[in-house]
Amino acid sequence: MRASSAPPALRRWFAAVGPVDRVGVEERVAKFTTRSIKKAAKVQGLKLAVSMVDLTTLEGKDTPGKVASLCRKALRPHDDPAVPPAAAVCLYPAMVRPARRTLGLRSPVRLASVATAFPSGQTALATRLAEVRRAVADGADEIDMVINRGAFLAGELTRVRDEIAAVVATCGPAALKVILEVGELETYDHIRAASCLALGELRPGDFIKTSTGKTASNATLANTQVMLEAIRDHYLETGVAIGMKPAGGIRTAKQALHFLVAVKETLGDAWLTPARYRFGASALLNDLVRQLEKERTGAYPAPYAFSEAAESY
């Protein structure tokens, strides 16, 4: 792949973590979409997926009012009480306070904030850490950070590692999700290398996350699979279980079920919980609820029978 043109430090790290078999990964994930999940299993899968959604709004036009309705939607995605609440809402740091006001202190929905100069991460480390500190102080339960892709691709691995470690230390009790931004890493080898780098710094209960959703290339089954296998290898080696969060581009219930199949068949049932697996999405929740309604009534419902998708407020 591109390993030969990579900086020496990166090349040594590739050798340490091992290469990715591109054809093998793509063949493997193609199989995940062929599982037949129907009726009761489908309902269970859909409900599980609902409980794993990080309902996201990351737009310049976000307002406290819009965030409040997003929070209410996360708490009660549908009027059917059998539909569980979403796992979390994911917001910009400025929206953490208004969201905390709506969610209250003891909410089943966790409050995640992107931080560290999301989505580019291109500011001084001190600024990024200050942002994390502020978001946690305002009431964020989880922090979504971006790694320094520029430093990673330049081979400054120690710097990337130290920055992640610094954010981990700054997070305190908040869980951390490390966004690799796979679209900017370009190859599976890079994704695996970056995953392994981040995994080494994380605590149990933390996550690695595919992307910001702000670039053209988002979470796919293949790049998620590379990261899942890195998590598995890390777990088998150290016993530390890290979570996974694909984000961006997952819009339909069917896709979500495919992703869950990948988790079950790669990491096992222990990862089929919101504590270890999340979907970063805005439109997905509506489709999940719509499919649950279809299973309940037997008739295909219209999309406008549900509250608006977070993206279309």
Partner: protein, 288 residues
Amino acid sequence: MPRLPVTKTPKPYVGGAFIRSESGRTRPLADATGTFFAHVPLCTRKDLRNAVEAAAKAGPGWARRTAYNRGQILYRLGEMLEARRTEFAAALTRFGARRAAALREVDAATDRLVHYAGWADKYEQLLGGVNPVSGPYFNFTVSEPMGVIGVLAPAEPPLLGLLSLVAPVIVSGNTVVALASEPRPYPAILLGELLATSDLPAGVVNVLTGLRADLVPTFATHAHLRGLSAVADAAERRVLDLGAAESVKRVRYTPDAPLAAWLREAAQGLEPIRAFIEPKTTWHPIGA
């Protein structure tokens, strides 16, 4: 040297693409002489769901077109059908129509498209307007398309029956998911190939083939279908009425009739357009 026969795989036209049924099911179709013709896909309720999604996606863009442009596009369809007159007539005769009747049916289908093309920028004058009110207000009624409409085409005539139901629905900006004639689906497949090369945007007309028994219940209950324009027997009407009541959709039945009835002047007009528009009435203060 003798050529190997090049047989055709007929495929329904959905969302601007030629699909096979997601189920992979087909049934063999024989022509009027009993000779095997082709395997025709048996679409399922999931194919119907996908077609509704495609139609819903195409809806806003189609409705935003000017009435004049929709008329042009329908007229262009008529032009293209005229140019392929013999091909369509041959498709009809192959499945049992007499040559003269087939040509009459194709010509009538062309004329019907032209008829509704003409209506595109005229129905609004008749159905909408400025209502008299006793106050310093304008009170307008404008016609808006309803959204995605399901069409259940009659068994006979396979081309004219389908087009007579589809054309008045799309002329006002609705989009259509249609089920082709069950015994003679091939003219509808051919129509799909015509639509694909016409100026009609992908997804405005989607034509499924398959068994009515498989699909009628889903046409009835699918909540995203806002209306149904159907030729149906008594048992099907009961299913459609019950499902439509549950999902609050408008249903318009056209009686099952032989070709002669579909050819008549009375088989076209304003009423089939009116059946699938939603009048919207607005108040507006008269400016100083």
